[in-house]
C-alpha cells in the first residue's frame, strides 16, 4: 500500500514545514511593533489639523503583511512593511506634487523628520530595531475604478509619472488562489492524521514563505539579482493547484516555473491590473532573469529529490541547506510533541510497519513506559 506510506510521509514532512514557517515569519512582537508604528503614521497623516486631511487620506497595508506571507530577513537585514497613503486627488495633479504633500506632512513632525528618506516610489521611515515602513503615496485610478490606484514613479525630477497599481485587488486575488481543493481527500487513509486540525495557515501561504526564504538564502551573496517577492508570490498564486501539502504545492509551482521559463523571457503582469508589468526588472536587467531561471531549476530538482527521499538525518540536512537554521528548531519541536505523547502514554506503534503514531487504533500497540539505558 505505497500510497498510504506516501500520504503519511507527506503529512510528517508538512508538519515540519509548518513549524518551520511559523519560525520564519515575523514574531507577534514584531508584528505589534509594526502595526503600532503604522497606525501612528496613519494618525499623523490623517489628523484633523493636517493640511492633507481635506483629501481624506486612507492608509492601508500592502504586501506580505497583508497577505500573511512575511519572512524574517536573514542576519542584519531590515524587515519592511509597506503602507499605502491614498489621497482623494484627481490624476491631473502631477505625481511629484502628491509626493511632496505627504513628505511635507511627515517632515512637519519632529519625530519623523530625522527618520524619513526619499525613495523612487515611497517615503521610507527608518525605525530602530531593523524595521522600516515604506509609505507609498497614491491617488484613485478613476479610469479603472474599484480599488485601482496610481502611485508616483520618480526616478528623477524630469521623469516623473503615475504608475498603475492595485494592492487591495491583488490581495483579494491572492486570497482566492489560497483555497485548497481537497482533490485527494476521499482517497486518503492516513494513519498519522492528527485528532485536531493542525493546519491554520493555508498551504499556498506557507509555500510562498518557503519560496521566499529559499530565495533569501540562495541570493544572499548576490543581492542585486534577488527576485522580488511580488514575482514569487504571483507565480505561486497562479501555479498552485490546490494541493493539500506544501511539499506537493511547492513541487507543482516549481515544476511549472521550470516549464514556463524554457522558452523566451517570462513576462508577468499583475493579475488584477494588466497594465502593471510586475516583472519589469527582468526587462531592465536580463541577467537577474537568467539567475532566477537557473536557480529555480536547481531548486526544483533538489525539492523533488528531497520530498521523495527517506532518512530523517539526510532530510533535515537538506532542509537546513535550503531554509537555514530554523529547520533544526522546527524539528526539535516536533520531537517534543512526540515525547509529550510518550510521557502521557499516548504514543503508539502500528502493527503493520512498526511506525510511531499519536493515533490509537485496532492495529496499534501502546509504547510502554521505559527509560533508555546504556553500558
Amino acid at each position: 500500500m505505497p500510497n498510504i506510506v506516501t500520504a503519511s510521509a507527506n503529512k510528517q514532512f508538512d508538519d515540519i514545514l509548518e513549524r518551520l514557517c511559523i519560525k520564519l515569519q515575523i514574531t507577534p512582537t514584531q508584528f505589534t511593533t509594526a502595526r503600532d508604528n503604522y497606525e501612528a503614521v496613519g494618525g499623523w497623516l490623517g489628523q484633523d489639523d493636517s493640511p492633507i486631511a481635506i483629501y481624506s487620506p486612507h492608509i492601508y497595508p500592502q504586501g506580505s503583511l497583508r497577505l500573511g506571507t512575511t519572512v524574517k530577513p536573514l542576519g542584519q537585514e531590515e524587515f519592511d512593511l509597506d503602507a499605502v497613503c491614498q489621497l482623494d486627488i484627481a490624476e491631473s495633479v502631477d505625481p511629484g506634487t502628491v509626493f511632496e504633500m505627504i513628505w511635507d506632512r511627515m517632515y512637519a513632525n519632529k519625530r519623523y523628520r530625522d527618520m524619513i528618506v526619499r525613495k523612487r516610489r515611497c517615503i521610507r521611515i527608518d525605525y530602530a530595531r531593523n524595521f522600516h515602513l515604506d509609505v507609498v503615496p497614491a491617488i484613485p485610478h478613476c479610469e479603472r475604478g474599484g480599488t485601482c490606484i496610481l502611485v508616483p514613479d520618480l526616478p528623477d525630477p524630469e521623469l516623473e509619472d503615475w504608475k498603475p497599481s492595485n494592492p487591495l485587488g491583488y490581495a483579494e486575488w491572492f486570497e482566492k488562489q489560497v483555497v485548497t481543493i481537497n482533490k485527494f481527500a476521499e482517497a486518503r487513509i492516513d494513519p498519522l492524521k492528527d485528532p485536531e486540525p493542525l493546519h491554520r495557515k493555508p498551504t499556498l501561504k506557507r509555500s510562498v514563505q518557503l519560496f521566499k526564504r529559499w530565495r533569501d538564502i540562495r541570493f544572499k551573496a548576490t543581492p542585486r539579482l534577488l527576485p522580488p517577492s511580488i514575482i514569487l508570490t504571483t507565480l505561486a498564486g497562479h501555479l498552485y493547484e490546490g494541493e493539500r501539502w506544501s511539499t506537493d504545492a511547492l513541487a507543482t509551482i516549481l515544476t511549472k516555473i521550470v516549464k514556463a521559463t524554457r522558452g523566451r523571457r517570462l513576462q508577468l503582469y499583475n493579475p488584477v491590473n494588466d497594465q502593471e508589468l510586475i516583472s519589469e526588472r527582468w526587462e531592465d536587467e536580463p541577467d537577474s532573469y537568467d539567475a532566477f531561471r537557473d536557480a529555480v531549476r536547481e531548486f526544483q530538482e533538489r525539492w523533488l529529490d528531497l520530498i521523495h527521499s527517506t532518512g530523517v538525518p539526510a532530510i533535515t540536512k537538506e532542509l537546513q541547506e535550503l531554509f537555514g537554521e530554523p529547520v533544526v528548531r522546527a524539528f526539535r519541536e516536533a520531537v517534543e510533541q512526540v515525547e509529550q505523547a510518550r510521557a502521557a502514554g499516548r504514543l503508539y506503534v502500528t502493527k503493520g510497519t512498526r511506525t510511531l503514531t499519536e493515533v490509537a487504533g485496532p492495529a496499534t500497540f501502546t509504547v510502554p513506559r521505559n527509560t533508555f539505558y546504556g553500558d
Partner: protein, 157 residues
C-alpha cells in the same frame, strides 16, 4: 506496567507463539530453546526501514540488534548512545520492572525498538539525544540480570 493477575513468565516458545500471531510478518524461529525473530521497523514515515533481530531465551531479558542499515556514530570513533557494547540496544532500565518476563515481546520490546530508532535518527539530525534515559557510570561492569517475575526483587548493581 500493570501485570494482570495469573500471568506467568513466558517461555521462549510462548513468546514465539505470540509473535506469530501479533506480528505475522516477522520471521520467527525457535533455535535450541531460543526465539529468534527478525523483522522491519520504520519508526516514522520519513525514516529508513531498519531490519532488527530479537533473541529471547526465557531466562534472560531479550537481546536486540539492528541488522541493517548499520548503525553509525555521528563522527568517526564516536559512540552511539544507549547501546550495550555498541552492539545491542539498551531499551529500558534494568531492575525497575519496566521489563519483566510476563510481558509480550511483540507488544513491549518491538514498540521500544521503534522509539529507540526514532531517537537514533533524531540524534543524527539534531546532534542531541532527545529521548531521555540513563547513561550509567561506565566503571562498574554491567551485571547480567536473571530473568524474573514482576515481584521478583532483582539485584541492583
Amino acid at each position: 506496567m500493570a501485570i494482570e493477575p495469573g500471568k506467568h513468565i513466558l517461555s521462549a516458545s510462548e513468546q514465539y507463539a505470540r509473535m506469530r500471531i501479533l506480528l505475522p510478518d516477522f520471521r520467527a524461529v525457535m533455535r535450541k530453546h531460543t526465539l529468534i525473530a527478525e523483522g522491519d521497523v520504520r519508526p516514522t514515515p520519513l525514516s529508513a526501514v531498519y531490519q532488527v533481530r530479537l533473541a529471547y531465551r526465557g531466562c534472560t531479558p531479550p537481546k536486540v540488534w539492528v541488522l541493517s542499515p548499520t548503525l553509525v556514530p555521528r563522527e568517526e570513533g564516536g559512540k552511539i548512545p544507549h547501546m550495550y557494547d555498541q552492539e545491542r540496544l539498551c531499551l529500558y532500565l534494568p531492575s525497575t520492572g519496566q521489563w519483566s518476563g510476563e510481558m509480550v515481546l511483540a507488544k513491549v520490546t518491538v514498540p521500544w525498538i521503534a522509539l529507540w530508532l526514532y531517537h537514533y535518527e533524531v540524534w543524527h539530525a539534531v546532534g542531541e539525544w532527545l529521548g531521555g534515559g540513563v547513561e550509567p557510570d561506565p566503571k562498574p561492569p554491567f551485571t547480567r540480570e536473571k530473568q524474573g517475575g514482576h515481584h521478583d526483587r532483582r539485584r541492583r548493581k
